[in-house]
């Protein structure tokens, strides 16, 4: 199981600003190990952000997203104290969900 995400959600300019840092290798599949064997691709393919049961952002990613991915976006309607969940799924089927409170 991958390490938890760091999620910061804060009310800003009438909306909610969300910043997420995920812990993931984001291996491209292009690199070779010291023995010259290709290192298999391992990367987050899908990210979903949920607020009050509504999806406020979704993303499909390729291996060109940098290691330990960063994501920032803004949505309207969120209030202080409400929860936001971020869910990611990688190309090996690993999945992680983390939650943060809007402040």
């Amino acid at each position: 199981m991958a390490d938890p995400m760091r999620i910061r959600a804060a009310v800003k300019d009438g909306g909610v600003n969300v910043k997420v840092l995920m812990a993931h290798e984001m291996e491209t599949g292009q690199r070779k190990d010291s023995a010259g064997k290709p290192i298999p691709a391992h990367f987050i393919q899908h990210v979903s952000a949920m607020w009050q049961g509504k999806e406020v952002l979704s993303a499909n990613w390729g291996p060109a997203i940098a290691k330990n991915p960063f994501l920032e976006f803004n949505f309207k309607g969120g209030k202080k104290g409400e929860k936001i969940q971020i869910i990611w799924t990688d190309n090996k089927g690993d999945k992680r969900t983390d939650e943060a409170t809007i402040n």
Binding site: G15, M26, T28, Q30, R31, K32, D33, Q45, H46, S48, M50, G53, K54, E55, V56, L57, S58, A59, N60, W61, G62, P63, A64, I65, A66, K67, P69, F70, L71, E72, F73, N74, F75, K76, G77, I87, T89
Partner: protein, 156 residues
């Protein structure tokens, strides 16, 4: 999103995949599923093929897409990129990198109520044009910017 599903459907005929897609349709209000991942687009080697796989054809250049990225990236492994679309009705924002091994880096779906503005960090294999593709009201728009890389982000 629908476009992606159609492409996946066309590309395969698997019954199990079909069931997953049906489930995705039923779960519309919940999180979207990884099954929506457009394999063909993400495996495209160049911008033209990626645009085709996304169903974007040849998008019009637009000055209403603002990309924020450094002129020079010292380390191609971590390059901050951000895009804001001022085009009304923006549904999705995608980043495409011309000279990476595969062109499409990321595609963000923007539901109504979410600002058409995203930031992330990408890897650049070498000095390259980075394109931002915006879908708004079913039409595609694009802008691009060259980022110079002194150390590449791919390869060993």
């Amino acid at each position: 999103m629908d476009q992606t599903r159609r492409d996946v459907l066309r590309a395969s005929g698997g019954a199990s995949l079909f069931a997953m897609l049906a489930a995705a349709g039923l779960l519309r209000s919940g999180p979207t599923l990884a099954a929506d991942w457009n394999k063909k687009a993400f495996e495209s080697k160049n911008i033209k093929d990626a645009l085709e796989a996304l169903g974007a054809g040849s998008p019009a250049d637009s000055a209403d897409i603002v990309m924020t990225a450094p002129e020079i990236a010292e380390n191609g492994a971590v390059v901050p990129v951000a895009a804001v679309s001022k085009i009304p009705g923006t549904e999705s924002i995608a980043f495409l990198i011309a000279k990476n091994p595969t062109a499409l880096a990321a595609s963000f779906n923007i539901p109504s109520g979410t600002e058409p503005s995203v930031s992330t960090r990408v890897k650049l294999a070498q000095t390259t044009d980075v394109h931002v593709l915006v879908k708004a009201n079913g039409k595609y728009y694009m802008t691009k910017k060259e980022i110079k890389v002194t150390i590449g982000g791919c390869g060993g």
